[in-house]
Structure formats: structure tokens, C-alpha cells
């Protein structure tokens, strides 16, 4: 059993009819339900529900406060390597893009770690492109060994790995896995991913499950919004998360809602995802899955992040930089994408405090 079987099943769904037939009366009925079905969740993504964002926001806010309190966990990304064998047409690290390629040496990793640790953050997300012969498992393990001296939680956002490879990284101190399907539309996926290992839709789709199978502590999934119809992508993201949380209840499942940002390539989003669409997705996800974490990165602007804070967010990045060695290197390299919120950790913490939220710097303790 794989989530792919659900994907195949949902291909036959008449989305257009389901989404357009939702009435106000149905919407209010769903809002009162203690547990939502998959079709209830889809209804919350409908144009009709989009006319009731305030009601959805109120409900999402109440659920979030009860489940997670007035706290936001902060983390920051560290880009280890931008070498990549893939040609994903929306990505700044696309093999064909003429950018300065670099991989941090272990000395540079230590230097970046030291710099980040000065902010007090204890959760780090490490990222690479897809070039296993350069940024391979041995390299990642060595990086984790260094990073574990500075951080209490290490998550990875790297190329899709096998189950055994995830198990090796867990042994090296990794407790979180972030991996985005980019699009759940298999045909479109093939047209967007032209070369490299990432062309394998199924291997990518099942990667979060492989992490769960070897008992990784948390898994964060998403689609990249702007590639296809956001309502369908949000629905399948939610169903993917629902599938994982039911099958692997011991794993903390979280979702992100990333929108495409400008990057070194020339790709332009196929679908414009408005701010109100992000709000609808976030509140629908929160109402559908009360206990699921929701991550918002610095792809979003400071102003927008401030506004959506109470609507379901549990985790935010701060002090972000999408370039390899971006915090300590004198060589200013091109990032994977342009970030939209450049606030550092102290500014984010101050904003959260002023808004009545507590910035959480540490929420895991290694127990290996």
C-alpha cells in the first residue's frame, strides 16, 4: 500500500463538480462537525468556502490555540550544497542554470553552525541539491556529527533517499524529514522534471513514507503552489498527510504551504496563488487536521507572515538564507530562491512577543 493508490483513486474525482456544488448551508454544516471526511475537506477548499474566510479563520485559530498554545517554533535553513543533477524547470539550482556551484567543507559547516547557534536557535534544517556523488550519505553524516554539537534537532531537506539511507541519517542524529512532492499531478510532474533522479514521481511520492517506516520523528510534506490548480494540490497534500498520520501515528506529520518565488531560472508560475488562497488552504488544513503542524517559510513576506500567524501556523523559519554558506562566506552566491522575509531571529522573536506569541527555540532533545 502506498499513497499512490489514493492518488490514482482521486484522479477519477470530478473536482470541478465537487468544488462548484458546495452551498453555504453545507459549509456551515461542515464547520460544526467534530471530524471531517475527505469530501468535507475538499468542500473547505471550494470557492463557496472562500467566501467565508473569516469564519474559517476563527475556527482555525481556536483549534490552534487549544492544540498548540500561543507558541511558534523557530528554525533556520542551512544550505550545504547547490550541486544538482536535476533539471526542475522552476528551481534555481536547476543543473542548466549558470550559477556558482559550491559545497560547504566540514570547516565551513562548523563556521556556519557557530554563526547560527549565536542566535539561540536549536532547530536546523539542512538542504542540498540532488548530487549524491558529491553530497552523499557520508558527507551528510559528517555534517550531522558537527551540527549535533550546536543544535538539538536536525532536519533534512535533501534528495529522496531509500529507507536504509534514512535509517543511517537517523543514527547520525537526524530527527526530521522535509520533502515536497512539488506537484501531485503526475503528468505535469513529468513535464516539470526533465532530467535526473527526481524524474521518478513514485520514488519521490513514497519518500515521506520511507522515513516513517524507519521511525523518523517528524515528516513535513507539501506541494509547491503555483505549478497547478492550488485547490487540487492542497487537497492532495492534506490527503497525503492524512494517509501518513493514520498509518504512522507515532510520527509527527506537518505540512507547508510554499508558493513559488523568483529564482535564477526563467520559470514563471502557471497559476497565481493569491494571499487569500493561502489563507483558505491553511485554515482548511487546520480544521481538517487539528493536530498537524503547519510550517510557513520566508518565501512569504514579513507583512503576510505577521497576518497569518494566528491562523494555524506552528513553525516558522527565521534568519533565513538560501545560498550555500550565505551567512559566513565572503563569496555571495545565488540562492535557491529569493526570500521575502529577511528578518533575523531577534526581530522575529520580538514580533512574536509583541503579537502575544512565544518564540520556541528548542522543542526536541536527542535521546539516542
Amino acid at each position: 500500500m502506498s499513497f499512490y493508490e489514493d492518488i490514482v483513486r482521486y484522479r477519477d474525482l470530478d473536482y470541478q463538480n465537487c468544488l462548484s456544488s458546495v452551498t453555504d448551508s453545507q459549509f456551515y454544516g461542515i464547520l460544526e462537525k467534530p471530524h471531517l471526511s475527505d469530501m468535507d475537506f475538499l468542500a473547505l477548499l471550494s470557492p463557496c468556502a472562500g467566501q467565508h474566510l473569516e469564519e474559517m479563520a476563527q475556527k482555525a485559530h481556536d483549534i490552534t490555540i487549544r492544540q498548540f498554545g500561543r507558541t511558534i517554533m523557530l528554525y533556520t535553513p542551512m544550505y550545504l550544497s547547490n550541486f544538482c543533477n536535476n533539471q526542475c524547470i522552476y528551481c534555481g539550482f536547476n543543473q542548466k542554470n549558470k550559477i556558482d556551484r559550491h559545497q560547504l567543507s566540514l570547516e565551513e559547516v562548523e563556521k556556519e553552525a557557530l554563526e547560527i547557534s549565536k542566535t539561540g536557535l536549536k532547530h536546523i534544517l539542512i538542504l542540498t541539491g540532488d548530487a549524491p556523488k558529491i553530497a552523499g550519505l557520508n558527507y551528510l553524516e559528517s555534517c550531522c556529527k558537527i551540527l549535533s554539537r550546536y543544535f538539538s534537532s536536525i532536519s533534512i531537506e535533501v534528495y529522496a533517499l531509500t529507507r536504509d539511507e534514512y535509517a543511517r541519517l537517523i543514527q547520525a542524529g537526524v530527527d526530521g524529514l522535509t520533502i515536497y512532492q512539488e506537484t501531485y499531478n503526475e503528468d505535469l510532474y513529468g513535464r516539470l522534471h526533465l532530467k535526473g533522479a527526481k524524474t521518478d514521481y513514485r520514488f519521490r511520492l513514497d519518500a515521506p513514507e520511507r522515513g516513517c517506516e524507519v521511525a523518523i520523528r517528524s515528516v513535513n510534506i507539501a506541494a509547491l503552489f503555483g505549478l497547478d490548480d492550488w485547490r487540487k494540490e492542497a487537497f492532495l497534500t492534506g490527503m497525503h498527510a492524512d494517509y501518513l498520520k493514520k498509518k504512522y501515528p507515532e510520527t509527527e506529520i506537518a505540512v507547508s504551504i510554499p508558493r513559488i518565488r523568483p529564482n535564477a531560472g526563467e520559470f514563471q508560475p502557471k497559476v497565481i496563488v493569491e494571499d487569500r488562497d493561502v489563507v483558505q488552504m491553511m485554515t482548511a488544513l487546520r480544521i481538517f487536521m487539528p493536530r498537524t503542524g503547519i510550517t510557513i517559510s520566508t518565501r512569504e513576506s514579513a507583512e503576510f507572515r505577521n497576518h497569518i500567524l494566528p491562523l494555524g501556523v506552528t513553525k516558522m523559519s527565521a534568519g533565513s538564507c538560501t545560498a550555500v554558506g550565505g551567512r559566513t562566506s565572503e563569496n555571495k552566491r545565488t540562492g535557491q530562491f529569493e526570500i521575502a522575509d529577511e528578518r533575523g531571529v531577534p526581530e522575529m522573536a520580538a514580533m512574536l512577543q509583541a503579537s502575544g506569541w512565544q518564540a520556541v527555540y528548542k522543542d526536541w532533545q536527542p535521546i539516542m
Partner: protein, 261 residues
């Protein structure tokens, strides 16, 4: 009767406490609220998740906000089996958090329900090592009895799933545990308002642990005070002995009244 200087103290692990309300440290908008809530609620026992404590941090260190007079009750939040709970307990002790431990073994991230079997295993190991063990469990008499044998110092059955604020959904099962288990019974989780805590105490629970309902209030300090008062009121009512509940008014004795003539 004021519980803070009464002669009906709560005794756990050989220690005596003037308050029967235990509180948490999670979900607050700021850790600076913690000492104010301790003051307003009168609580003397506070639980803290080791996973959240950064002992070296200057800014984000919850321990700096917990007054010395409080009994610290580290918890094993994040543990998915007995082995992880035991390791977290040992880490907490090594970090200077003392030998009290609230065992939470939760292999279910959806409803946050505890695993009774693994909880009993962890309790056996930690009690043997000298920990004062307070395990969080479902309202299950069989597990509670196993925990007595395993060396627990109290049992902490849930009223409803964590964070739901739904009240004593397990009321009948809680009453059985209260009636049958000689250890202190602390109702934990699901208590959403002071009347729920009062109800648990009226039933004969020895104490209540409340976090979400206080932290999610728009005025946590006032809500802490309300919970402190509710727990006192419920305990006082329990000790006073409540009158029987009758279905009808009892104005006369229609069948035996003639005997009074």
C-alpha cells in the same frame, strides 16, 4: 477552609503539598506568565517537558521562570516507547531536575493517547532506580493496578484527550480508579474549565493537572486563580460529604406517614 494552610494536604512520594492543583508550562504566550500563574493558582507542583528546556539559554529557558519552592515534575513528552521514556527521565535527572518524573509514552500523535503497556514497563524501571514516578494513563483500572505493582507514586488518568478541554468524558472509569486505587489519583488532560476540575475533586480525585485550559484563556492568571479555587471547592465538598441525589422532591412519606400518628 483554605487549602494553603489546611490539615488536608496532598502527599505524594513522601512530600506534602498545600495545593491539589498541578499546572504545566506549555502553550503560554510568554514564560514570564508562569510565576504569576503559580502565585494566583496556589499550585505547588509544575510539570515541564525536558524536550523544551534549554538549560544553557539566556532567553529561552523556562526553568528561569519556575520559583525554587515549586516541586519540579519533568515529563517525558516525545517518548514513543518505554526505552525513550526511561532515557528522557535519566537525562532530566542528570540535568539537575530531580528524581520526580511524569511518564508520558505517546505513540499516537493524532489523539495523544498514552500506551499503557509501555508506561508500566517504564515505571518499573524508573521506580527501581529511585524515581518518584507519576504516569499519565488512560482511565483504565487494570493499567492503574499494574502501575501500583510497578512502584508508581500516583496515577494520572485522563479526563479526555489532551488539549480538548472536553471535561470528564471518562467519568465512570475515573470513579472506578478513584474507588479502587490507594495511590493518589490525579486527573490529567481534558479538563477545560474550573467546573470540570471541581467535579473531579468532588468525585474524590486527589488532585488535578491543568495546562491547556489555563494557557489558552485570554487571562491565564485569572484562570489559574479560578482553577485553584475550583479544586479547593471540590475537595472541600468531597470531604464534607455530599447529600444524596434524588429524582423527586421529598416533602412527605406517602406510604409510611401513618406510622407517625
Amino acid at each position: 477552609m483554605n487549602m494553603r494552610d489546611n490539615n488536608d494536604p496532598l502527599i505524594i512520594g513522601g512530600k506534602t503539598f498545600a495545593s491539589r492543583l498541578l499546572i504545566g508550562t506549555g502553550k503560554y504566550a510568554a514564560d514570564t506568565l508562569i510565576p504569576k500563574i503559580i502565585e494566583s493558582s496556589g499550585s505547588r507542583i509544575i510539570t515541564v517537558a525536558l524536550r523544551r528546556v534549554d538549560f544553557e539559554a539566556e532567553t529561552d529557558n523556562v526553568m528561569k521562570h519556575i520559583p525554587d519552592h515549586m516541586q519540579l515534575l519533568p515529563n517525558t513528552s516525545g517518548a514513543r516507547d518505554a526505552g525513550e521514556a526511561v532515557r528522557i527521565a535519566r537525562l532530566a535527572k542528570a540535568a539537575g531536575c530531580g528524581n520526580w518524573i511524569k511518564i508520558e509514552v505517546i505513540p499516537d500523535n493524532v489523539y495523544l493517547l498514552p500506551d499503557g503497556h509501555e508506561t508500566v514497563l517504564a515505571t518499573e524501571i524508573l521506580a527501581r532506580e529511585g524515581f518518584v514516578v507519576l504516569p499519565y494513563i488512560q482511565a483504565d483500572l487494570v493499567v492503574a493496578r499494574q502501575l501500583v505493582d510497578a512502584g508508581a507514586s500516583a496515577v494520572m488518568p485522563l479526563g479526555a484527550p489532551i488539549g480538548t478541554n472536553k471535561g470528564l468524558k471518562t467519568r465512570e472509569m475515573l470513579q472506578i480508579i478513584i474507588d479502587e486505587i490507594d495511590l493518589p489519583v490525579i486527573v490529567d488532560a481534558g479538563i477545560g474549565k474550573p467546573s470540570h476540575a471541581c467535579e473531579a475533586m468532588e468525585m474524590g480525585a486527589d488532585a488535578c493537572l491543568v495546562n491547556t485550559a489555563i494557557a489558552s484563556s485570554s487571562d491565564p492568571v485569572a484562570m489559574g486563580r479560578a482553577f485553584g479555587q475550583a479544586v479547593e471547592a471540590g475537595r472541600t465538598a468531597f470531604l464534607a460529604g455530599m447529600g444524596p441525589v434524588k429524582k423527586k422532591a421529598d416533602a412527605s412519606s406517602p406510604l409510611t406517614g401513618f406510622l407517625r400518628h
